[in-house]
Symmetry: C2
DNA sequence: AGGTATACCTAATCATGTTAGGTTTTCCTA
DNA sequence: TAGGAAAACCTAACATGATTAGGTATACCT
């Protein structure tokens, strides 16, 4: 395929993704049909198959895009300064990211779509994020696998509660700093992070 | 309706629910159709409407049943002894409950079903459970709303991670005791549970 | 100018939840 | 105990969903 055409193809693909995101935000992650996406970009449903081989492939592309955005959010967080303060920053940033787009949160962190699993490539992006997180935690002395596991569970848990019980509020997200301090106190060596 | 008939009706209703649970456990919470449930109880799909006015009503009944089971699990946990030990017991019990049936976990604690919201009556059961939890936490000095919120977020978070990342394992659930101790240390008065 | 891949379409298939409109079964009552 | 009403079930049909088949037109390279 020629360059010009490839660019055009990619642009249309992104247009479709944008339409899907808009619908997902409006009507819920799974609350939209291919016909609706198609209508939003002035096509008929079957034409979408030129750009995505199945509906799940759209979800997969959204998944990848979401993790790329999270990586960007990470990048925007200043990583220098007192390690614990950096951690607080990261925690707040993460929660803000989750709450900003509940549909995205569900797609990235909950298993909401029946039968959908991210492709290898998309999953790799998720692991990039995790690696990045591991780095920041280490800086603050949270080196154990247990600490990382607890971190992810706690903060996705906080986001989930916030989103499903009080969307738009901060009853759970405002606990961020406190929780960070708590985890640092309990799990930084020696030897809350027992052995490794 | 006569008593005999009412009993029969209720029995069939439960039969349908059991079939739905079985399918949900087998193929995922949303991975079954009315036709399949009907086949499992030797009927055709439309006949199910004698017992449930819509598919969501089945989910609602499952939701209620799930919370009744959780209440029972609570009842089975000995509530006397050292408060912190009781808390550990409760935490382990809860995680066991979640991991034992991922479909149930999703139904009760995640918003997985598009468009489904529990009825008032079913939701009341969920609040019963929460009230019960509040009681146990208070016994151990965790009296603040913040402590309760953090508790629910953390333990549903742990369960979610365990279920979606390592089903059948214990990488997250084994953190239970440690997390309980951590929360008690950080949030029992004075005055981790600041003011109220 | 012509050929070919691409982009798009309509028509159709099959599964889904749900409604309409029966027929059969059950069981209370006269 | 006969009759009738309600309950329990059925088949047929609909609308909407994802997806496939099989075309037509457009864009671009040679």
């Amino acid at each position: 395929m020629t360059d010009r055409r490839a660019r055009r193809h990619e642009a249309t693909r992104q247009e479709i993704l944008d339409a899907a995101w808009a619908l997902a935000r409006e009507r819920g992650l799974t609350g939209w049909s291919l016909r609706e996406v198609a209508a939003a970009v002035d096509m008929r449903a079957p034409s979408l198959y030129v750009y995505f081989e199945r509906k799940d492939a759209i979800y997969d592309a959204m998944f990848a895009q979401g993790y790329r955005e999270l990586l960007a959010e990470f990048g925007a967080t200043s990583t220098d300064g007192e390690p614990v303060e950096v951690l607080r920053q990261v925690a707040r940033g993460f929660l803000g990211f989750c709450v900003a787009d509940p549909a995205r949160f569900q797609l990235l962190f909950l298993r909401v779509i029946p039968g959908f699993a991210p492709s290898e490539g998309s999953y790799a992006l998720a692991e990039d994020v995790l690696a990045r997180l591991r780095g920041v935690l280490e800086q603050a002395g949270l080196t154990s696998q247990r600490a990382v596991d607890l971190w992810t569970a706690t903060f996705t848990g906080l986001a989930a509660q916030q989103i499903s019980n009080e969307p738009g509020g901060d009853r759970w997200t405002r606990l961020a700093d406190e929780v960070v301090d708590m985890m640092v106190a309990a799990m930084s060596a020696p030897d809350g992070g027992r052995s490794r």
